[in-house]
């Protein structure tokens, strides 16, 4: 097992293995997503309060969950890179940032579009929305900082520290709906007692959540492969790889 991880951490093996995993993960992801969309748009009943508009939830909630999940992965990988100087962890951390930013953007925009018919406004400065917006700025800050520093290893260290400091925002986002009571509704799924949601709505929601996780896995592997090639461009194995093509 340890040998497996050691091998995986070497950029060359990672590049090869990721190339094998990507198509499989993509197919499984598509399967979950299509089933989730079918269940969510055609099988799940309308909401007794919100009618059909609640179907935005099937992308809004998975996107919002992923916006936080990707951030934690990014900060965790950044910490591993800082502590053990593991190149691959740095690469995963920085490859996660644009994906996380896009999920955060999606959560904010779909939330806004859902808010208009339900709350009567596109935006309020309540705690949930504001802290999610700060999350978007954290992602953009990480990307900008990484691109501003020429030496990529120094850049990775600086961005990892920024990402770690920003982790404080994650519990704020999560608990914001409990600490401050405003327009955003409270949690219905991640409660400790039984979720107060119809099973026919819960199933497509969970299917979409799994699909989004797999989607992130696919894209982070694709991006990391590019980053590996870029950083290892002067090594023998990359020269052999590109010389053939």
């Amino acid at each position: 097992m340890l040998v497996f991880f050691h091998k995986l951490a070497s950029p060359k093996h990672f590049y090869r293995l990721a190339g094998i995993w990507i198509p499989w993960l993509a197919v499984i992801c598509a399967g979950f997503m299509l089933t989730g969309l079918y269940q969510g748009l055609l099988v799940a009943p309308p909401d007794y309060q919100q009618g059909e508009s609640y179907r935005i939830m099937f992308i809004h909630v998975p996107a919002a969950w992923m916006s936080m999940f990707v951030y934690v992965v990014m900060a965790g990988a950044g910490a591993i890179g800082l502590i053990w100087h593991m190149k691959l962890a740095e690469i995963v951390a920085i490859s996660s940032a644009p994906i996380g930013a896009s999920f955060t953007f999606l959560a904010l925009v779909t939330g806004s579009i859902w808010g208009k018919p339900m709350w009567g406004t596109w935006w309020v400065w309540d705690a949930r929305l504001t802290s999610e917006l700060i999350l978007l700025f954290l992602y953009l800050g990480v990307i900008a900082l990484y691109n501003a520093v020429d030496d990529k290893r120094t850049a990775a260290r600086a961005t990892s520290i920024l990402a770690l400091v920003g982790v404080v925002n994650i519990p704020i986002i999560h608990y914001s709906v409990e600490w401050w009571n405003t327009l955003h509704q409270g949690p219905t799924v991640t409660k400790f007692d039984t979720p107060s949601i119809d099973i026919r709505m819960l199933i497509p929601l969970l299917l979409m959540a799994v699909a989004f996780k797999l989607f992130y896995a696919v894209v982070v592997l694709m991006r990391s492969r590019c980053e590996v090639l870029q950083r290892e461009r002067n090594t023998q194995w990359v020269r052999e790889l590109t010389g053939d093509s």
Partner: protein, 56 residues
């Protein structure tokens, strides 16, 4: 349920389909960006390799 009923989404069609449309754009952009990056990178590296061979 007819198709037009489905598209109408009980009057919320605009909001629901705009959300799903933006989601589609975001997901496609996420897939396309690394594919483009990879194609460009491989082309650059192959060009460099050809140049290096000529010099030898």
């Amino acid at each position: 349920m007819t198709l037009s009923e489905f598209l109408n989404m009980g009057g919320y069609g605009f909001y629901v389909w705009t959300s799903y449309g933006i989601a589609l754009v975001v997901l496609v952009a996420n897939i396309v960006a690394p594919m483009k990056m990879r194609r460009k990178l491989l082309a650059d590296l192959a060009r460099r390799e050809r140049r290096a061979r000529k010099k030898q």
